[in-house]
Symmetry: C2
């Protein structure tokens, strides 16, 4: 069983960073289409995608948002964080097979409430910025170690 | 085969609206965990979730972001839209089984470029606001009718 320990508010410091990486796979794009309902062929149909400016399929932009949210929930501050808000600017498309890395940086801590602002930058394997923005969260106030749930095995047909 | 027709920039008017609804299912939450890597038990483990302030599992916040992005890509302006940015404020948790409805409203059109701002509001089946924010997009400049891709059948074990 995998456990995960959060970083409570009083242990967070300005400029503190965390990184979270993920390869965006064919399956991720299919699952994102399934759960959101976005069946646009730019994400799912090779022949159509070749006729577009991108010449190939691209991942849904908000899939990058999903990965940012996982970085916050898994790394900084981690379990117990309450997500208040997120801004996102999409800078470049993410292609299937790209490895994206989220860098979170603590940029503001409220004086009394456990409110924290995180700068969020996402780069691809060529070190190109694909998205950036800011997250606002309520950090957990107590340290906590949780047993992670087992992710399902997914098959697609 | 299902086709989808977009609304090009010159046919968009201020105050124009579109709605997009979806029931957030057990499978959606599992798939979101799988594609993002967020395995926090608040989303996946009933026993753990009962010990939290919510007393039950909640959907990942950014799953609502995914549904907003699908509303933009499928409804307003639809296919050919380029997603430039999104702000989100999470107001209430979305529970498994909730039916959420995205309301998109055109609130700004650039004078020369096809840049559009959309207000995004998401309500649950009790008409409670669960999230809001603004999207910035480049609307398609030409009307286009696309054949939608077939969504995969997904099994989980």
């Amino acid at each position: 069983m995998t456990t995960l320990t959060n970083i409570p508010f009083d242990q967070l410091s300005i400029h503190q960073q965390a990184h979270y990486s993920k390869v965006v796979t064919e399956q991720d794009v299919q699952l994102f289409a399934s759960l959101s309902g976005d069946a646009n062929p730019i994400h799912l149909d090779d022949s159509y995608a070749q006729t577009t400016q991108f010449k190939q399929r691209i991942a849904h932009g908000m899939l990058t948002g999903a990965v940012i949210s996982a970085a916050i929930a898994m790394k900084l501050p981690g379990p117990g964080t309450i997500y208040l808000g997120q801004s996102l600017r999409f800078k470049r498309p993410v292609m299937l097979g790209d490895s994206i890395t989220v860098t979170l940086t603590v940029i503001d801590k409220h004086e009394s409430k456990p409110r924290v602002k995180l700068q969020c930058e996402v780069h691809n394997q060529h070190n190109q910025l694909v998205a950036d923005g800011e997250a606002e969260v309520l950090a957990p106030t107590e340290q906590q170690t949780l047993t992670l749930a087992t992710l399902p095995e997914v098959q697609m047909t």
